[in-house]
């Protein structure tokens, strides 16, 4: 199942919709569930990593400068990171902005 899931026709499915390629859940774009997104203000960030720990998607990564950012392919916009951030470095904004 190398095609993006949305492109599969019923004929492309394996028997019983078995997933024969281990680990391909990483191809699933949970980001398209999102209606809001986190914005990181690095000037307030103390690099504590709490957002990274709490993100239920595990989609927050640390960059080369030590700041944290969300991978929007997976980020569902749940807002947990913003809620848990000590310094209010993360704000959640509606997707259309």
């Amino acid at each position: 199942m190398t095609n993006p899931e949305g492109m599969l026709t019923w004929k492309d499915l394996e028997i019983g919709s078995i997933v024969a390629e281990p680990g391909n859940a990483s191809q699933y774009q949970t980001g398209d569930w999102r209606s809001e997104r986190p914005i990181f203000d690095n000037s307030k960030c103390i690099k504590c990593g709490i957002c990274y720990i709490f993100c239920p998607e595990g989609c927050i990564e640390q960059n080369a400068e030590g700041y944290f950012e969300a991978n929007l392919f997976y980020c569902k916009g749940c807002g947990i990171c913003a809620r848990e951030c000590w310094t209010r470095a993360i704000t959640i904004v509606p997707e259309e902005e």
Partner: protein, 391 residues
């Protein structure tokens, strides 16, 4: 050389599963199915069948254990009835949509309340849409033969679907009948080993039963429907092959004196043999009546039904289940829908009878046929007729 013996049908099913060399049996005892799994437990305990017997705490667990066993490629069998089938309900859908060829005999039983262990088809009709192949049987020989066929059909690479064999509780499950058992070597030749193409195997990992968001769920359901439809061909081939090997032939719709009959009765399960007695008597009396027996319930044999009834004027359908607040009997309603678009079709009259183990005698079937003819002539303001309820 086949061996003929007088044997209780439930025990005979156990013997058929032994001949099929099942690998896993997971079951929970429930009347009137108990003797089937009891005999299998004995066979396994005595070392006569080299299989894992998993005793579980409920039918829900029985079917769940069967899924796991089938998923590793084991030849898997279970049996249930009535309330047990209901308790399995949600897992039945999982078996068919994951395409796991679990084979199950169902000793058809009425549903509570009031509590009834006796036979009817309420349990069958409640699982009509679960995506399993479903076959009705009329006597012990047919059950044994179709258990063997079920493994071959279900495990066929082109099918890979679970199969239910329906037999009437008590009327069939608990009677002793003369049954022919094929030799082990004949069965081995007829029934190749189960080779599930994508089994759970640590050396080649796969994920089964994943979630299906809106973007893919519908595709999976359509694939399932196309697959069940495609199974028709394999079912016919299997029955044909079985007939050539063992000289007993089966077909989706069985006809009895129906070719020239103006009036046809349609039944399923063990009642068909009693109905034949009524047809014989009425024929001797010079009446142009015949019988149609529905064997294949899913996938529904639309073409065969149309063909079998096309020359009749009246078709009387006897259901042993009641769709409350609906059209009466589920089988009748499907037969009507199969015929709706036909230019030439019989008038279809639906009866519901024989609920909760209530017998219908040959005289009773004669009465049903006569009443059906009367309704076809005079009409009725009822959607369907009830047979045998005391007024």
């Amino acid at each position: 050389m086949a061996t003929k013996m007088g044997i209780e049908v439930s025990v005979a099913i156990g013997e058929a599963v032994r001949l099929a060399n099942a690998d896993v049996i997971a079951a929970y005892p429930i009347t009137p199915q108990t003797h089937i799994v009891e005999h299998l437990a004995e066979l396994v305990a005595n070392g006569e069948l080299d299989a894992q017997y998993i005793p579980v705490e409920s039918e829900h667990s029985a079917m769940s254990a069967c899924l796991g066993a089938s998923a590793v490629g084991a030849r898997t069998f279970t049996a249930t009835a009535g309330q047990g089938l209901e308790l399995m309900h949600e897992v039945l859908y999982v078996a068919s949509s994951m395409r796991l060829p679990v084979i199950m005999t169902v000793a058809n039983r009425a549903l509570s309340a009031p509590l009834s262990v006796w036979g009817d088809h309420s349990d069958v009709m409640a699982v009509r849409d679960v995506g399993w192949i479903q076959i009705f049987t009329e006597n012990g020989q047919e059950v044994v033969d179709n258990v063997l066929c079920a493994f071959r059909i279900g495990e066929d690479r082109r099918v890979l679907l679970p199969v239910m064999i329906h037999l009437d509780g008590f009327h069939l499950s608990h009677v002793i009948e003369p049954i022919l058992f094929p030799e082990q070597s004949e069965v081995d030749q007829f029934l190749p080993p189960n080779q599930y193409p994508l089994p759970l195997d640590p050396s080649k990992p796969v994920s089964m039963g994943d979630f299906g968001p809106p973007i893919i769920y519908f595709e999976t359901k359509w694939a399932q429907e196309v697959n069940l439809e495609a199974a028709r061909e394999v079912i016919l081939q299997c029955w044909n092959e079985f007939g050539k090997t063992f000289q007993r032939y089966y077909s989706p719709v069985e006809c009895y004196h129906s070719e020239d009959a103006k009036v046809l009765l349609l039944t399923m399960g063990s009642f068909s043999e009693t109905a034949m007695m009524a047809i014989d008597k009425m024929r001797r009396d010079g009446r142009e009546v015949g019988l149609i027996r529905l064997r294949l319930w899913r996938p529904f044999p639309f073409g065969e039904i149309r063909q079998a009834v096309k020359n009749a004027e009246v078709l009387i359908v006897l259901d042993r289940a009641l769709s409350f607040g609906g059209p009466g009997g589920p089988v009748c309603s499907e037969v009507k829908s199969a015929l709706y678009g036909e230019d030439k079709k019989p008038r279809v009259i639906g009866f519901v009878g024989g609920l909760g183990g209530r017998d219908i005698t040959p005289a009773g079937f004669e009465e049903i046929i006569n009443r059906g003819i009367e309704i076809s002539q005079k009409g009725s303001d009822q959607e369907f007729e009830i047979f045998g309820v005391r007024e």
